[in-house]
């Protein structure tokens, strides 16, 4: 994964979010305050602008810029969560120009840890951390990351939030009424991972 892959990753994510803005908002209306699609789209619009304007040396630089966009333009829960994830991911990349699968795994773990730390989240609490945790486990299963497998596990983890009762985030206020609805942040995180898989799979082939 080089800096161009990193840029493509985020731009692909941005397009997914843009076209799913209403869907994410609907999900967030069911269990939250109905702004997740709006929040994510605002941050990614800004990030995409920065990625188009500036040039970057390393994947770490790219993720640093994306992190800033999230932290300074999004707010809400997803701003600091995605922002911290990207910041720590960037830190884990260090100054490397190209990331090997080992580095990608470390990057994903750094992001997942950041989400957990920022959100004080545990597995099974119906938050995006559930997806992050599954992603890291799936990526680490094989020495060469099996993206097909990661995708499947990511999808499973996102879908699994549906039957959970939320313990963190706004959905927790609904108590048992949160059961039966997908967690919006988990669905957007799944999109982030799908974009990464697309970019790195195609890089492999």
């Amino acid at each position: 994964m080089n800096q161009q892959d990193a840029v493509n990753w985020i731009l692909s994510f941005q397009k997914k979010i843009e076209s799913s803005k209403e869907y994410l908002t609907d999900l967030d209306q069911a269990v939250g305050d109905g702004d997740h699609g709006i929040n994510m789209n605002r941050g990614l619009q800004h990030a995409a602008g920065v990625l188009h304007e500036k040039t970057f040396e390393t994947p770490g630089d790219v993720l640093k810029a994306v992190s800033t966009a999230f932290i300074s333009k999004v707010g809400g829960a997803s701003g600091p969560l995605y922002g911290s994830a990207m910041l720590k991911a960037s830190g884990s990349c260090g100054g490397k120009e190209t990331l090997e699968d080992e580095d990608v795994k470390a990057m994903l773990r750094a992001a997942a840890d950041a989400v957990q730390a920022r959100g004080r989240a545990e597995r099974g609490e119906k938050t995006m951390y559930d997806v992050w945790e599954a992603v890291v486990r799936a990526a680490e299963e094989k020495e060469d990351i099996d993206w097909q497998h990661v995708r499947m596990k990511t999808a499973e983890a996102a879908d699994a939030t549906k039957e959970m009762q939320a313990k963190k985030g706004r959905a927790a206020y609904l108590g048992a009424r949160s059961i039966g609805h997908l967690d919006p942040g988990s669905v957007s995180t799944r999109m982030l991972i799908e974009s990464l898989a697309e970019v790195l799979e195609s890089g492999d082939s």
Binding site: T25, Q29, A30, V31, G32, D33, G34, D35, I38, N39, R42, I71, S72, K73, V74, G75, G76, A77, S78, G79, P80, L81, R118, G119, E125, K167, K168, G169, R170, A172, Y173, L174, G175, R177
Partner: protein, 331 residues
């Protein structure tokens, strides 16, 4: 969606503009931010009090900026916590050398963004302390969850801490009282109709004509429970009963009662609820030393109310009665 707006993505910006144009002698906007500060900020020699959160709760929070309450309010997008850099700008602008106190409502987003700002401020050597308000008893409290929301009771925290700061309290004293205070404030809300986030363009939930939500927050989120329509007296009893599970109401106890309209509930109905709560409290021998009725922490145009009780003592009595000169609350 029927709203008196120009552009859904500009509502916060234009609102803040409108506030400064309307109150040029009271408020000032920090350039390029969503922060409103007291015109005379920073006030030297007293800790500064900052609050903020998503927009859509007006008059909270910017309406409470002024002598005796807040030094600054930071506004996020509608129902979205403001970003850490905005909060940090506010901290820098109002710090008068005696430190800055942040009043945070307990939402994951607010807590994370404000905490990040506090970290930034500390890195610059500004003394920052904060409290997380969690007055909403609708949700069960538990150390395994994000806990309870901060809702209308937050306004009482602004009032009391603002009065303390004017009176000469130190940042440490304010932080100490704040911790006690939030334990003594309990609120419970309900709604008859949902509201529409401008950028979402449609209501957050739907309610049939004969349904209401009990335990609603202030973000257009569904409540904890859906019931048939209750009368005002029944509604008041339901809200108070839930509060009572958490705050023992004993004879000769002194409380402040805050009735808060969520946006579209006529003042007439708020007073009918207030009447009912007064009757219920009287039956229990609880003394209401002060009643505040109105729209303080709204949820856009949601119809509904919340009831808040604050345990009173002599100090709090004085702080509540102290002068306050803000655009939305005056004493």
């Amino acid at each position: 969606m029927k709203k008196l707006i120009n552009n859904a993505s500009e509502v916060v910006n234009e609102m803040l503009d409108g506030m400064v144009l309307s109150h040029p002698n009271e408020l000032r906007r920090l350039d390029g931010t969503t922060v409103l500060v007291r015109k005379d900020a920073p006030v030297q020699g007293k800790p500064a009090i900052i609050s903020g959160g998503g927009s859509g709760h007006e008059p909270a929070h910017a309406g409470f900026v002024g002598r005796g309450m807040l030094d600054a309010a930071v506004s996020g997008e509608v129902f979205t916590s403001p970003t850490p850099d905005q909060v940090f700008e506010a901290v820098k602008a109002v710090d008068g050398g005696s430190g800055v106190f942040l009043v945070i409502k307990n939402y994951t987003g607010d807590v994370m963004n404000f905490e990040m700002a506090a970290e930034m401020a500390e890195a610059e050597g500004i003394d920052v302390k904060y409290v997380v308000v969690n007055d909403d008893v609708a949700v069960e409290d538990s150390s395994f969850t994000s806990g309870r929301r901060g809702i209308a009771g937050t306004v009482l925290v602004h009032k009391i801490l603002g009065a303390m700061a004017e009176e000469g309290a130190s940042l440490g004293e304010i932080a100490e009282e704040a911790e006690k205070l939030v334990k003594d404030i309990k609120s419970m809300g309900m709604s008859l109709t949902p509201c529409i986030v401008p950028e979402a363009g449609k209501p957050g939930f739907t309610l049939a004509d004969d349904e209401m939500e009990i335990g609603t927050g202030i973000h257009g989120e569904p409540g904890v429970e859906r019931t048939g329509l209750l009368s005002a007296d029944e509604t008041a009893a339901a809200l108070l009963e839930k509060i009572e599970q958490d705050m023992k109401l004993e004879p000769d106890m002194d409380v402040l009662l805050l009735i808060n309209g969520l946006g579209a509930t006529p003042l007439m109905e708020q007073y009918i609820i207030s009447r009912a709560v007064h009757h219920l409290l009287k039956d229990k021998g609880v003394k209401v030393t002060e009643t505040i009725v109105g729209e303080w922490m709204t949820s856009l145009e949601m119809a509904g109310v919340s009831v808040t009780l604050l345990k009173m003592n002599e100090d709090r009595q004085r702080w509540i009665a102290a002068a306050a000169d803000t655009t939305a609350f005056k004493r």
